[in-house]
Symmetry: C2
Subunit: 273 residues, 2 copies
Amino acid sequence: MNPHAFDQAIALTATGDGQYAGATSPAYANMVGPFGGITAATVLNAVLLHPALLGEPLSLTVNFCAAVADGAFSVSAQPVRTNRSTQHWVMAITQPNAEGVAETVLTASAVTAARRETWSVDDEPMPAVPAPARLSTYTVPSPVEWIQRYEMRPIEGAIPHTWDGSGSDSLSRLWMRDAQPRALDLCGLAALADVFFPRVWLRRATRVPAGTVSLTVYFHAGSVQLAECGHGWVLGQARAQAFRNGFFDQTAQLWNEAGHLLATSHQVVYYKE
Amino acid sequence: MNPHAFDQAIALTATGDGQYAGATSPAYANMVGPFGGITAATVLNAVLLHPALLGEPLSLTVNFCAAVADGAFSVSAQPVRTNRSTQHWVMAITQPNAEGVAETVLTASAVTAARRETWSVDDEPMPAVPAPARLSTYTVPSPVEWIQRYEMRPIEGAIPHTWDGSGSDSLSRLWMRDAQPRALDLCGLAALADVFFPRVWLRRATRVPAGTVSLTVYFHAGSVQLAECGHGWVLGQARAQAFRNGFFDQTAQLWNEAGHLLATSHQVVYYKE
């Protein structure tokens, strides 16, 4: 059996101490370069593959410095500080420029942690929404390939059908999962945090160039809880807080079908005009 | 005139290409090491002092690897990618360990941007709250020194007076500003994003050890807009979304008195029990 397209896309080959070789996957192609979520998942995968790894991801921040060019790239992941129960990582992706000199296309950091069971509670309850079975899958009017890798069932705030400048808010809610069945895991969750289309399109009902500059994911679930979700649906909610002079922010939450908050995420996004 | 305690605390001396020397300030001492907000402001200051700086801060992520020891530290700030209108920074703070070997106590990244005026709107309106003049300043029952550097006027979700396990939510709203007058600026705003006491104390009305692991600030205002705020009040709002197995997240918003969103911020925080 062939590996899942997602696992092919995030696959890395160790080439040295904390050094890995990877390549972009046409299956996750975006307008320019790959889907940001798959790149975030790939750099997280470098941490997960590292032999010195302590615990599981707690936070991940990815800064997109430049479009990743189609083809090969190098990933580095270095543990710069290991404490008793937390570990701090610095990562980067480089690609050779036209002169063959390695250029940084992405910087990232992560904290991993060996967690212990404690008093726990969700303070952001899952909104009351119809079950995924009661909604139909939405074919997103998008020319980009990666959209086809996900099954999406919007509840509100779907991508506008008409671009008439009529938008009034930036909130989207949708059920989502891999189109080809795959059990949820940490890399899969990181990618899902970046599935939302640019909030500026919704808020303005106007399509303008936009691209994520920096993305942070906080993982509230570990690998065991994610595995229990299997190929279940994830409820995603995203909205902006401010659009200001070329950049807007997005705050997002991801719950499993049982209503447990799996991750919260934030990003800041460039937009034109 | 002596410089403001804040400016003394974040002061850096250039020692090389993107290398700076600094020292902790007793005025901003926390229980162990300095107030996280002053450390975040210091590492941002290294970027602002760098001769190659393009534009102004858009995002800042700071990972607290270990408590900063009282005394001297070294800061590095390197621009790893400069585009036409954005620049990507990687920063770190190191201190010598007992054997004199430099150890990483903080990693950070930032994106700066030369912004242009565009269509803009705030999607997270300032909540309706009483004006600061109608509230009294709160003397926080805290043994730590940095708290005295800020004037705080809580509106709701003040630090519990009785630790009886009765908490029911994690939302705090307060007006805040430097206790000794100082015009708001980018470093000052970064520090304000970390002023909130640990959400777990409020949610549980139980005081447990807690400390920020990773902090992200998105800057919606630039230096000109901040200067216009002068020594005005900033409305801070913070709440948690999930408390899970030793770590909770916090999402925060900072508005000026005129109701403009200046920054949004997120952090993930360790807690015990």
